[in-house]
Symmetry: C3
Subunit: 353 residues, 3 copies
């Protein structure tokens, strides 16, 4: 599997990594252990001791988190991957006793991991999702949902939201999205935006029940911005026909996918809204939102991956529909970025001569 | 795995496919969805939407069963595999939006699927098993038993019924079958028959307890007719020594195997008898029959497959015994039919010139 | 996977094979069935009937154990692998109806299997572990622990016992072992011995609590003798500083590993001690010992194997520490023995000419 390397991937939500925890996850086929150092900063190391290949995540944190001790024979490593302690013999530290360290950054509630060389890590490429992650806690529903499909299928899923009409018909779908014409743009070299608007339809159930009056025609908007490699910001809302957006209900949502492997994906959702901002309203809304993701999206995506097997998507000759416009653009853009990395890594004829 | 294609395979018993159900099964490595159209006729499509490869079986039936709607983005297909509805954009139907349709037929309680091109489907090749499937309901015990072995091993199992003496010694075996001399014939180009008869032995337990007197010498008969590719009709019975067959107990049984893959088989048994034709007698006999299949045959066949792994049967150089005569004949006949298909599909030198 | 063939592997502890039992295990990728003949001697056959490839272990013992009957069609084989009975037809025994028989020997509580040709079996190569296996029953804790790692990792684990300081810190580790200097010798062509001694440390908890006084400085000894291919005899003990060994606590332990496959190992532990020789003391000590193996060693070894995948150990370029000296020597010795077998099996240029 070829992945985009010089980019940030979401590794965890901030509170999945409390101080003192060794969090073992696989990203892009590589086992990684995450922990916080004594200053509280997230650290990430290859999760394999260079001595006997035990997972460092099976060890323990020492020095307030500044080092992780292998649980098998006791070598200690700091967050840069350097061996800082060898309990054996004269305590000399073998030169080769080094583990790969990843660049990681915590930004607005998310922990990001750079998949390329740590020294190339470019903080300016971390997307700013603070509008979502700083939203009112009582209007926030979020969770982690690892899923047996590729990250590409998750991106396709979100960039073609016409699926709500069929996969989520009782909550998020009203039929309006399928009939609307999608407008696709490219806000930046690393992003694709797709927008659907409609006028005159009753809003989907989850929105309709929160409008001033129910069962009335509305103006609706759905806007998805994908940023390479696989994070999506979604704005969806509705207002009574002809009224300003501010008078209606609006939601801002993050969907964050990080490949574990070709066929497995770490997935996080972080959904926020501008209404029902009480603990009671949040408690009531949570099962509906979680069930949409866990009981409708997840099984469909896993079934889709299962039917595709390990075949390349294009080799299966998909029949494309209008709703695929954004997803196809994002797939091509990601491929172009990966190809550009590959050719940058290969000396040109001239350079080789 | 190479399968015989221009032939019928059992896909389901009639009542496994009630109206309104989408039944997902894999036959010959191909995912298929079965359903009944508005007229109640069984239909079979490749279980993969050509748009995004979601299983159609995860969708729903529309128009009384005349179409199946993909549960992901809403394309609809009829039982011929034609796309009849596209909810997106102007509703135009892409030319390529077609799924493979299989020829299926319902005959005397069974639903049959043709594994070759639908237009080549030859109804005259469907075996007539009505003598079994129309038998008295209170003398009928039937079920579905998917099993982790090849369909060939199921055929071998039934064509060498001497195994009853060792695998089912307390119910169906008496030792008589192993000692009897098997007579093998070929009733047709696509069938093999093997017959064992014996005189003087006490009948196996399951038969003995249903004779007029117990523990007495009997005449016994066991006749198996295999029809390519993998369905078996079995007649087994016993009568007190010298009495006519009609005075004894007789059973007529179907064993139906359809490959799911090289190592997994759909299996159905349909056992009927000419005695004990009451609900009470049937309820009493059912556990014994079901246990013979599920607790004795199935574990042995799965263990056998496990020991063989993915090796070709003949490559393992089996030591053949007299009881294998029928099974070997059937294996050779099936191979000849498959080879004939392959050479029919390949132009000869002359034709190619 | 290449294994040493002309050597003995532990197949079972004596009481894992009571008379009348068919014990199915895989050794070195080969399915084997073990049983006792009428004289009580252990027998071992390839666990696959040559007729239809059913596992013989799914059959039953006949003639007091002198033959095993296939449970599918009834062929019987004796402990030499010869077919002694065919129930079919005229009862003639096909020439090819033979199964592979392994040489097996029962010695001091263990059943050993020779992995090479039975006629080459050399009883003098069976290690004498009677000092352990004849120890007082109330000072003995033993068990079977199949584990998802290679046998090499088990050998490494035992030959580098410095791991007790980190993996078993509350029971067997005190930190003394890591700091001690290991002395490695080669008592024979097929064995490696590693010895650690220390003076002045408090003994590990499991030893300290059994000394005359607790929390006092001690002399400690740890001696491991590995014998090819994968059995280890361990002596570990402690005595109050300056007192003779006999005045302290001493343990003698067997760790026995036999490859099931490249990634799975049969493992037995047989731990004996010279103190606490009562049923009550044994019952109290048992959970601690078993938990060390099952809750600490086993998960670490399986995690280590999982991180290594199917890669060759040396190809991963392990960073070696002083504690690895014994394990590396044993790995090299085993490899040399395997290479010697391979070249003995290959004609030299001269012989071929």
């Amino acid at each position: 599997m070829s992945y985009l390397r010089n980019t940030w991937y979401v590794a965890a939500m901030h509170d999945e990594l409390p101080p003192g925890r060794l969090l073992a996850r696989i990203y892009l086929d590589e086992p990684v252990v995450l922990f916080r150092n004594a200053a509280g900063e997230p650290q990430a190391l290859a999760d394999r001791c260079p001595h006997r290949f035990a997972p460092l995540s099976a060890g323990k944190l020492c020095n307030g988190g500044d080092t992780v001790q292998c649980g098998y024979h006791g070598l200690q490593f700091d967050g840069k991957g350097a061996c800082t302690h060898n309990p054996q013999g004269d305590g000399g530290i073998p030169k080769a006793a080094v583990v790969k360290a990843y660049a990681v950054r915590e930004r607005h509630g998310l922990i990001w991991l750079w998949a390329g060389e740590a020294k190339e890590a470019d903080e300016s490429l971390i997307p700013d999702y603070s509008a979502v992650t700083s939203a009112h806690v009582d209007g926030t529903i979020r969770g982690y949902m690892p899923t047996a499909c590729s990250a590409e299928l998750f991106v396709d899923n979100i960039l073609d939201l016409t699926h709500v009409d069929f996969l989520h018909p009782t909550t998020l779908g009203s039929g309006a999205l399928s009939r609307a014409k999608a407008v696709v743009t490219e806000p930046s070299e690393r992003s694709v935006k797709i927008v659907w608007v409609s006028s005159g339809d009753v809003a989907p159930y989850a929105f309709d029940i929160n409008l001033r009056e129910q069962g009335r025609p509305t103006d609706q908007w759905t806007e998805v911005t994908w940023t390479a490699p696989s994070t999506m910001l979604i704005r969806v809302g509705a207002t009574l026909l002809g009224e300003p957006r501010e008078a209606g209900v609006d939601t801002l949502n993050l969907h964050l996918a990080t490949p574990e492997s070709a066929g497995r994906t770490h997935y996080w959702y972080w959904s926020t809204r501008n209404f029902g901002l009480t603990p009671e309203a949040n408690a009531q809304a949570t099962p509906m939102v979680v069930n949409v993701f866990k009981l409708e999206d997840k099984p469909m995506l896993e079934a889709q991956q299962q039917r595709m097997g390990t075949a390349d998507f294009w080799s299966l000759k998909p029949v494309l529909l209008p709703g695929d416009a954004g997803a196809v653009r994002a797939r091509r853009k990601l491929k172009a970025l990966i190809d550009a990395e590959a050719s940058a890594a290969t000396p040109t004829d001239g350079a080789a001569a």
